[in-house]
């Protein structure tokens, strides 16, 4: 679609697993034409990772693969064969961008290192995503979500002081590094297009996390400024109410109190018990006895309401709050659905399914679902005929194990 922002960006995509495919997915979802190259036979390793459709392990039924590879065309190619190398060079000659996340050194050993590709296509942007970068003592090390979050991020401070540190959900840090790589690639493409500077981008998952700005980076600079180190555990102020509390149908989170105490009183319908001036003295926000008295009233109130009722009342009264939703509730949530966050994807092996959809709205160049994730080698015929190979050639390529 010509009205998508990146419709004129052509990407040759060698990525596998999570970070690389997350990167090229974001680009593809906003219009880039992505050709995903997979190893003949087995394909992207994510094809063997769960969850699977109806819990049936199958290379075309991995939910993770299906999600990460929307809007990409897929071909198979043996990069070690002479013919495979020739084909890939033809693709790269016509491309704007190459993204790869092999182990450092693999692209060079295939004759596809940046120095080679630059000769082929001087304006090319090549993004290499790796665990720790293309250089340095950890270059060949493996990584996990816990390592990325534990070495580059704030994991040390997450959890309770007397227990082991605990990570965030699933693989959110690794996924984030893919989104950072998409930004790096986007910026690289812009520089190539408008400043005439093709180049190699070396993105390390560790550095993407260490350079990410969250509470951690604040703590890093604070340490430089005055030597202070944060401790593990919740930072709970004396002010009330703060935290996650039970309600009639689950849990509700609120951060209130202090100067905004009247907002929470308002939310509770201005009960007579809270009219007493004792609640509004300068010392009241830090008084543990008052806190205990208040929390009894507050829990009595929350237990009479659902989380969505509390959210509506709390939000309208100017409180920072939210309902604690389970995933089925997220899928049904009217506000996310009214905004059109979710999308329905029809895939030959699973039928129609609801996926998380566009991460943000571009008013004039929208996110679009143009095609589901490719079956292994699904677009061989299409892509190879675009390169000028005939049907007979395709048969020969298949017979010789090139595709």
């Amino acid at each position: 679609m010509p009205n998508q922002a990146l419709y004129d960006m052509k990407i040759v995509d060698f990525t596998r697993y999570i970070a690389g495919p997350a990167c090229t997915k974001l680009l593809a979802d906003y219009g880039a034409e992505v050709i995903k190259i997979e190893r003949p036979g087995t394909g992207d390793g994510t094809r063997s990772m769960g969850p699977f459709y109806h819990d049936e392990p199958h290379p075309e039924k991995s939910g993770l693969f299906l999600y990460l590879n929307t809007n990409k065309r897929g071909i198979t190619l043996n990069l070690k064969s002479k013919m495979g190398k020739e084909i890939v060079r033809e693709l790269i000659r016509k491309a704007d961008v190459v993204v790869e996340n092999f182990k450092p050194g693999v692209m060079e050993s295939l004759g596809l290192g940046y120095d080679e590709l630059e000769k082929l296509n001087p304006n090319l942007v090549m993004t290499s995503i790796s665990n720790f970068g293309q250089t340095g003592p950890y270059r060949d090390f493996k990584i996990s979500e816990m390592m990325a979050f534990g070495m580059g991020g704030p994991m040390y401070t997450k959890g309770l002081p007397e227990r082991e540190p605990v990570k965030y959900g699933l693989t959110v840090t690794i996924y984030h590094s893919g989104i950072v790589a998409a930004l790096a690639t986007m910026v690289g493409f812009y520089g190539a297009r408008y400043q005439g500077t093709g180049q190699h981008i070396d993105l390390s998952i560790l550095e993407a996390e260490a350079g990410t700005v969250d509470g951690r980076s604040n703590a890093l600079v604070t340490y430089q400024y005055n030597g202070e180190l944060p401790t593990r555990g919740a930072v709970v102020g004396a002010q009330y109410p703060q935290g996650t509390f039970p309600c009639s149908d689950g849990y509700f989170r609120i951060t209130a109190g202090g100067p905004r105490f009247p907002n929470v009183v308002n939310m509770m319908g201005n009960p007579p018990e809270l009219k007493d001036p004792k609640w509004y003295t300068a010392k009241a926000p830090n008084d543990p006895a008052l806190k205990e008295e208040f929390m009894e009233l507050f829990l009595g109130f929350t237990m009479q309401h659902t989380k969505m009722e509390l959210f509506e009342m709390g939000g309208k009264s100017g409180n920072l709050c939210a309902p604690v939703l389970t995933l089925d509730e997220v899928f049904r949530d009217p506000s996310f659905n009214e905004r059109g966050f979710f999308t329905e994807v029809d895939h030959p092996m699973t039928g129609k399914l609801k996926y998380p959809g566009r991460p943000f709205i571009m008013g004039d160049s929208p996110w679009q679902l143009r095609r589901p994730a490719p079956l292994l080698g699904q677009h061989n015929g299409e892509v190879y005929s675009e390169l000028g190979y005939s049907k007979d050639d395709l048969i020969r390529l298949r017979e010789t194990g090139v595709i």
Binding site: M146, V172, A184, P359
Partner: protein, 429 residues
């Protein structure tokens, strides 16, 4: 030297707290001229400090994020939380709540490419800063609006921060200890950086679209929708199988052992993840103890089933080694392992130092320190620190005189009326 990729792009930065300033810093790092618009008459929440002029007493014997724990003469230029996102930006001051200030702002819009903002929704509403208004100044302007639930959400006027949004996305059920309920799950603010990066991405994509079509646009991004895509395993499992995943703590559905284990030292930890038989063999070679031959640990399924026993034994082994020692021993055998690093330790990490990750930044009011550097390397246009964390109003001369072409008389008048300055007005405590 080649131009930085975004050279020639001017961005008006009206952002506060975290996601917005982070987005603006990345654009600045990549070569855009980012002009942070501030006001000496207003102190936005949690951006240049909790308070404009805190006393040492207010910091409750802690450093409060200030160099040497001292707020100094101009605390707003010395706050870590601001300064970590302050490099490579320009700053001007103008009070756009007054008509003459709004005129200045409109003139700036007319010579800019992008406006990025993440104030509470009613702030821009009340000021009349809408896409229609901006388009009248600059027909192809790109207007990036960052919020909690989105500009068209029914919750658009509710107060929003990552720590509250996080529980609304299902994330709080996917993290934390498996034996604890929701009231004990600590906060996550992962939504902020997710939004910041995607906003920068959307802005550069929109610049490309504008260059090609001549059209600007509104970019409507929010904390909630930016982060839900980070959890595809759980969303797809529900969509495909109706399953509600719960937290596994540090464990994994397949790999075992997989966790964080105590090491030699006080509160020191190392993470280890062993996936499949090849890695298990490597793990056994590194550990070289008899218990690794136990038949309960003989295959991946059995290791999953006996994780409690396995974790205890792994923990005994790690407790005799330092975190880095465990990392080198296991990585040599092809197993993912690495120490959990606190702020002091990560500055000393060999890999980050070998690659020159930390960068030195200097600024008159806060001094010279090391800061987290750039998230990626570029072979021909390496990002560099062109200027340290920006001081409020530091670039008034440049913006008013050079960018807007304002003469001496008008400049002086704007100084007298409190638009141009480098200090917050006395009424701001």
């Amino acid at each position: 030297m080649a131009n930085l990729p975004l050279a020639g792009v001017r961005v008006i930065d009206m952002t506060v707290v975290l996601a917005g300033p982070y987005c603006a810093m990345m654009l600045a790092d990549m070569g855009a001229e980012v002009i942070l618009v501030e006001s000496t008459q207003h102190f936005p929440p949690q951006t240049r400090g909790i308070n404009a002029r805190p006393t040492r007493d207010m910091l409750r014997n802690r450093g409060g994020g200030y160099p040497d724990g001292d707020p100094g003469k101009r605390p707003w230029n010395r706050w870590a939380h601001f300064n970590v996102m302050g490099r490579n930006k320009h700053s001007m001051t103008v009070d756009i709540t007054r008509p003459e200030g709004m005129e200045i702002f409109k003139r700036l819009v007319s010579v800019s490419d992008v406006l990025v903002e993440n104030y509470a929704a009613d702030v821009m509403d009340k000021l009349g800063v809408t896409y229609e208004m901006l388009k009248r100044q600059k027909p192809d302007i790109i207007f990036a609006k960052l919020s909690g639930w989105g500009d068209t959400s029914k919750y658009r006027n509710f107060r929003a921060m990552a720590q509250s949004i996080d529980v609304m996305l299902g994330h709080s059920f996917l993290r934390g200890y498996p034996d604890m309920d929701q009231t004990e799950v600590t906060t996550s603010v992962a939504e902020d950086p997710a939004l910041g990066v995607q906003a920068a991405f959307a802005i550069v994509a929109a610049l490309h679209h504008r260059n090609r079509t001549g059209k600007g646009q509104v970019l409507d991004l929010c904390l909630a929708e930016g982060f839900m895509p980070y959890m595809p395993q759980a969303f797809m499992d529900y969509s495909m199988n109706g399953r509600l995943q719960g937290t596994l703590g540090n464990r994994d559905p397949v790999a075992a052992p997989c966790g964080v284990y105590r090491c030699l030292g006080d509160d020191k930890w190392v993470s280890i993840m062993v996936n499949g038989d090849e890695e298990w063999k490597g793990f056994c070679r590194a550990v070289a103890e008899d218990w690794t031959k136990d038949e309960r640990f003989g295959n991946p399924l059995s290791r999953q089933r006996h994780q409690d026993e396995l974790d205890k034994l792994v923990g005994i082994w790690t407790s005799r080694h330092e975190g880095y020692e465990v990392m080198y021993l296991l990585q040599k055998q092809g197993v993912a392992a690495g120490p959990l690093l606190d702020e002091a330790a990560v500055y000393a990490d060999p890999q980050l130092n070998a690659r020159g990750f930390w960068v030195e930044e200097s600024q008159e009011d806060s001094g010279t320190h090391l800061y987290p550097g750039f998230m990626w390397k570029m072979s021909k246009t390496p990002p560099v620190v062109r200027r340290g964390p920006v001081r409020m109003g530091e670039d008034n001369e440049y913006v008013y005189r050079k960018v807007l072409g304002i003469g001496d008389a008008e400049y002086e008048k704007l100084v007298e009326t409190g638009h141009i300055g480098i200090d917050y007005a006395p009424h701001i405590k």
